[in-house]
């Protein structure tokens, strides 16, 4: 755990969002610190996706404010989010199978030579460097088409893509869904690496194992409200499940999760 001094990187204050009669988020206040993995847990329909979409600029909150490094910001588009340093790693649909790793990592933000032609060499070197720095070593070649990668490798590329842009907050939506055991371990260690490098990570996951393995803090959403936020070591999977389903828990944490050291 690396709690940071001073103000949180991102603060949500009283954020609400409705879709017609559905109150997807109600008065959510949440701080996200640099160097920490904050897990966002919640049942289906609890508002996890809406919350991260509000941060990522896909939705705009109806009320409430978002503070970035202490200053109020309006994130209206994904571009706004990217400009601040917020990158989202989507569960799926985030990579183009027919493009190679370098092309995917720089998609939409290609480097140019003479303002006109693609600077493949510079992009390739940056991509290789980033992957190297994240210890993504199982990829045979950065010029390999993404379709030839395994699920874990693809997720690693997606994460590396987020890191490439000097992002400070990386939002991950179910990064280990549909991954095998070894692949999951690989992605989780990557998540940890990001936080240890001083990035803030907001991890949305259904998987309690994942959450307890890498998260520093766990926030629980239920029916659009933030019902709980506590350090991982003061929680256990059963408590989180209680919170997700009923909104409260009277249990005391069982120190049964040795992985939770993170």
């Amino acid at each position: 755990m690396t709690p940071t001094d001073g103000e949180p990187l991102l603060q949500l204050r009283g954020v609400s969002k409705s879709f017609g009669a559905v109150h997807a988020l109600q008065d959510v206040s949440l701080d996200i610190d640099a160097g920490q993995v904050t897990a966002l847990a919640g049942d289906n329909g609890a508002g996890k996706s809406v919350l991260i979409k509000c941060i990522a600029g896909i939705h705009t909150p109806d009320t409430g404010e978002i503070l970035w490094k202490g200053g109020r910001v309006h994130i209206r588009t994904p571009r706004d989010a990217a400009a601040l340093g917020i990158e989202t790693v989507h569960q799926d649909l985030a990579l183009c199978d027919n493009l190679d790793i370098v092309q995917n990592m720089f998609l939409g933000r290609e480097r140019l030579r003479w303002e006109f032609t693609l600077d493949e060499e510079a992009m390739e070197k940056s991509a290789a460097k980033t992957l190297h720095s994240l210890a993504v070593t199982t990829v045979r070649s950065v010029r390999q088409p993404v379709k030839s990668l395994s699920g874990g490798q693809r997720q690693s590329v997606a994460i590396a893509k987020a890191v490439l842009w000097n992002s400070e907050l990386v939002i991950m939506d179910e990064p280990t869904a549909a991954l095998g055991v070894a692949q999951t371990a690989m992605v989780l260690s990557l998540v940890r690496t990001l936080a240890d490098r001083g990035l803030a990570v907001l991890l949305v996951s259904h998987n309690m194992n994942d959450v307890f393995q890498v998260a520093d803090r766990i926030a629980v959403l239920r029916l659009g409200r933030l019902v709980d936020l506590r350090p991982t070591r003061e929680s256990d999977p059963q408590i989180v499940v209680d919170l997700m389903t009923t909104g409260t828990s009277t249990r005391t944490p069982q120190p049964a999760a040795p992985e939770a050291t993170a």
Partner: protein
Amino acid sequence: MTKVEEPGPSGEIDPDLAAEAAAETEVTDVPELEVQTLRDYAGVVWLRIRSGESGVLPVVGGLLVISALFQSLNSNFLSAGNLVNLLIQGAVYMLLAMGEVFALLLGEIDLSIGFVSGIGGIITAELIKQQYGWPWWAAIIVALVVCGAIGVLQGTIITRLGLPSFIVTLAGLLAWQGVMLLILGAGGSLPINDKVVNNIVGGNLTPAASWAVMIVIVAAVGAQIWLHESRRRSQGLVAPPAGVSALKIAGVAAAGVALVMVCNTNRGRLIPIRGMPWVVLVVIAVLGAWTFLLGRTKFGRYVYAIGGNAEAARRAGIKLARIRTLAFMLTSFTAGIAGIVYASRLQSVSTALDGGTLVLYAVAAAVIGGTSLFGGRGKAVHGVLGGLVIAAIDNGMSLQGYSAAAKYVVTALVLLAAVTIDSVVRRNSSV
């Protein structure tokens, strides 16, 4: 035929294979990779082929088989005169197919380009008519601009209204055919008397000029390959060894020399006819331009990205509607070029122009060449190679005296074979 093998490597290998070859950067520290072995490079190339990126190998192989077959049946097939004839016959298909590649790359289709090309021909023919007396170049520019505008119109309807391109361009097919009939009148035809326009297909460069032009093209392509690959080598990225680069350039040069030698052989019966037809240069120019656009610019990258995964492209901040509309514009624009070439070949435009068959041949050519119908995979050179295959079948079977019926059936079988290869490759590669 020779011609094709030349732009193939030039346009293709250069931005691609080399870039792809870049591959093995693994996790070795970049600047330390001073020495590149042939094995590294070969390994990367093999990796690409195994993952379904066999590139133009199948179609080039097919072309060789077809040539050998027809040559064994009729020794005239590979004669200089017939080869040049074949290039001329195939030029319209090649150009249309290169246009269609843009639509196919998006995972869309443009069925209107046959008649859009007719519109291009008509506008050119109309404007250079005596009564208007426009200079040929102005007429061509206007024709191409109008064709591009047609593409913008159709592309806008497709992207902004979210209608399927199949339907919108099918409507285009009908509408532009109607416009053609309207201008020409039923059974009408419009002769072209302008020398320059007719010479696009009918005229040749002098043998000396053919050599000069080919030397310039080979030098430009060779310089591209060399600069690109030596830059990669100097930056420590995986690149072919200098010997392989030199070999590639030698291949391009050999193809260029072969093409010029074929074109410069006398193919006239009564009076000598020598030199490269201008239309060959038109095809090479379009091939070069579109290869550059698709391989080296952001626009090209985005076209591939949209074809591969439109949602991912959207999330990457790519303006989908704009790129798609531009691609449809380029499809129609290229069709306009094809239409002018077609008009030049017939020295007239008439209602006999069968835009329906033309567009189907164009799609077939692109797919035979290696472009995927499912989007995301394809190159301008595929249009040229596929167009050559179709022209070769047509030409070879005509030499044997087969009927149109037989030609259609054989072309259909080749198309089926190509689509089968495409879908098998797809299945294997989506590991």
